[in-house]
């Protein structure tokens, strides 16, 4: 069956009332999270994963994916009204979005951000629909050695997730691999790093680690200080939220290039939506006949980055669903959720669980329509969330963390571990050590170890099996090339410059 046939089947599942409801819950929660500065999509998804364990995996991923792309919509609201990005992906929207708000055009900026997000988000999902099956089919011939090489390739992506220092990124990844070894060894049955504690024999739960590292650590960082905010008045009439025809005409190319740039940056591991929005903004400014207007309220300066950061989510789902490789902290958490539900992301997902995959893809079309509706007439409602004091918000996040973590095994030891990982995540942030490589390695490490051991059983213990098979060798060479890229000073300069701009 072709992609369109599968997609039609996916819509049949995605349009079931309960799945529509979960999509709505996801995109609404995503918008709220996007609006709120100081609470990111990674932390929110990590928080909600344990509460979705009891759900049907399709409904669960529809909701979590809704949060993922919903945050991109909400982030622009805060950038435009507060000059503070709700999400790092909306940093660049502050420049022209806030300038438009100061000039009395907050409504047009919010409207253009919503329209650009919808158009590019939908284009991103269309491209996902047609590229994912091709990649998955190519990867179907993978055996254990190729899987091992693929996981090594995935692990090599720490270079892109490393932040300013590649060494710190590698340290973070090694710590993730070490934490993944805690518990009973799957092959020999021996225990590793359990320190005689029976509660650690089953290993560290992914939910406990991710909620601690992302959600609790984020609360602790925000607790350090309180910042007063001043909010621009939000237009309440629908007509005031619509951009003019001139705005739309001026943003035609921005919508087009933002959609493409966002998708392709999304497919590339590690680059992320922030990079996509910066590149798209830079292209728009470069090709504009009036570059001097940028920074002073150019509507294209809102359309291009907002389009790119929404299209990026479609791109990021390609390696996640087809190869099981997450390219960012958020997709690493989504990968962990899939594994918790007993699904193995990768090419076989398209063969063994086509209903699931295509329902999630179809739900992204539906979710984008929901988000357009939520973010145009209801934007004043979402903006009012910014008036909720953090004092009321953070105890709720802490309680949600405790409930979520406790729900996994009904064990208060997990809550204690979560607090420890929260403190650990806080220290990592203060030392400029990124947490994303740790989670990436924690998820991919055991998969790589298992694939290597299965490969060695296949070859009777001969490790050359991973080098003599052409595809496996090619993937390992690619991993080595990626790991070597920091040595290229130009690449390293560009990477650090992008992080500094973030």
């Amino acid at each position: 069956m072709d992609a369109l046939g599968h997609l039609a089947g996916g819509f049949a599942v995605a349009l079931q009332p309960q799945n529509l409801l979960w999509a709505l819950v996801g995109v609404a929660a995503g918008t709220v999270v996007g609006v709120l500065p100081g609470l990111g999509s990674t932390a929110t998804i990590a928080l909600l994963v344990p509460l979705t364990i009891g759900l049907d995996p399709t409904a669960g991923l529809i909701m979590l994916a809704g949060i993922y792309y919903g945050t991109k919509y909400g982030g622009s609201t805060t950038s435009i009204l507060l000059n503070t990005p709700g999400e790092s992906a909306s940093v660049i929207t502050c420049i022209d979005g806030y300038a438009m708000a100061k000039a009395g055009r907050a409504g047009a900026a919010l409207g253009m951000a919503a329209i650009a997000s919808f158009v590019a988000g939908t284009v991103g999902v269309i491209l996902l629909t047609f590229t994912a099956p091709v990649v998955a089919e190519w990867a179907l011939g993978f055996g254990p050695p190729e899987y091992f090489a693929l996981m090594v390739l995935g692990l090599s992506l720490v270079v892109f997730l490393a932040g300013r220092s590649v060494v710190k990124g590698i340290v973070s990844a090694i710590l993730g691999l070490l934490l993944a070894t805690v518990g009973t060894d799957i092959v020999s049955g021996e225990s590793r790093f359990t320190f005689g504690n029976a509660l650690l024999l089953d290993g560290i739960d992914f939910v406990v680690l991710s909620v601690g590292l992302f959600a609790v650590a984020e609360v602790l960082v925000n607790l350090e200080r309180t910042v007063a905010t001043r909010l621009f008045p939000v237009p309440t009439r629908f007509r005031e939220l619509l951009p003019t025809w001139d705005d739309l005409r001026a943003s035609r190319f921005a919508l087009f290039q933002g959609s493409l740039v966002g998708f392709f940056i999304g497919v590339l591991p590690g680059a992320g939506s922030t990079v996509a929005s910066f590149i798209s903004y830079a292209i728009e400014k470069r090709v504009s006949r009036h570059p001097e207007r940028f920074g002073h309220g150019a509507v294209e300066g809102v359309a291009a980055p907002e389009g790119a950061n929404n299209s990026e989510t479609g791109g990021a789902m390609v390696p996640l669903l087809t190869l099981g490789i997450p390219g960012s902290g958020t997709t690493a958490v989504l990968l962990g959720a899939l594994i918790l539900w007993g699904l193995q992301p990768g090419p076989l997902l398209f063969v063994e669980h086509p209903d699931f995959v295509w329902a999630v893809i179809a739900s992204m079309y539906v979710g984008n329509v929901m988000l357009l509706i939520l973010n145009l007439p209801l934007v004043p409602l979402f903006a009012s969330i910014l008036r909720v004091p953090y004092a009321a918000l953070f105890p709720g996040i802490v309680l949600l963390s405790i409930v979520g973590v406790y729900a996994v095994n009904a064990d208060s030891f997990d809550v204690l571990l979560m607090a420890i990982f929260g403190a650990f995540g806080y220290v990592l942030r203060k030392l400029d050590v990124p947490a994303a490589p740790l989670v990436l390695a924690f998820v991919l490490g055991p998969l790589a170890e298992r694939a290597l051991r299965t490969s060695l059983v296949m070859s009777g213990g001969d490790p050359s099996i991973v080098l003599t098979r052409p595809l496996s060798a090619a993937l390992l060479v690619a991993a080595v090339v990626i790991l070597a890229t920091p040595a290229l000073s130009r690449f390293s300069r560009t990477r650090v410059q992008l992080i500094e701009e973030e």
Binding site: R164, V167, V187, E190, P395, Y406, A407, Y426, L431, L452
Partner: protein, 156 residues
Amino acid sequence: MPERALGRTLDRGLGVLVLAFGIVVFLASRGMRYTGANGPGPGFLPTWLGAALVVCGALLVLGSLRRTPAWSPELPDRTGALRVAAALVAIVASAATLTWLGFLTVATALTFFLAWALARRPAPAAAALAVVLAGAFTLGFGLLLRVPLPRGPLGF
């Protein structure tokens, strides 16, 4: 101390810590079998990870000696650090007493403490928030979503 110089000191401290931890991991993994029936045993990966940590720790120390790091630490002031520490202690205390006292009691006490002591809300407002949040979580997750929240001696 200038921020970049502080970054250099922190990087050096981190490097020493990573190096020392790498040695501990390396030594601890010597107690596990390095090879198994078909290749690597349970000690194979930890051994190499320990060694890699030692190398990374050394690189961090050397890097901090050779050049000023490209980051400026954002460390909390005394009050900020105390707030973070108090929040952590409160969460740990909640974890320790969760099974004995039950979720509702612990959640109420924790929320009150966070809102009153850390967010500086007036006591009545903090108490109201605590009752509302703890009640909503117990109802929403405990009763509606059937999350098996622990019950205290009084049955809630």
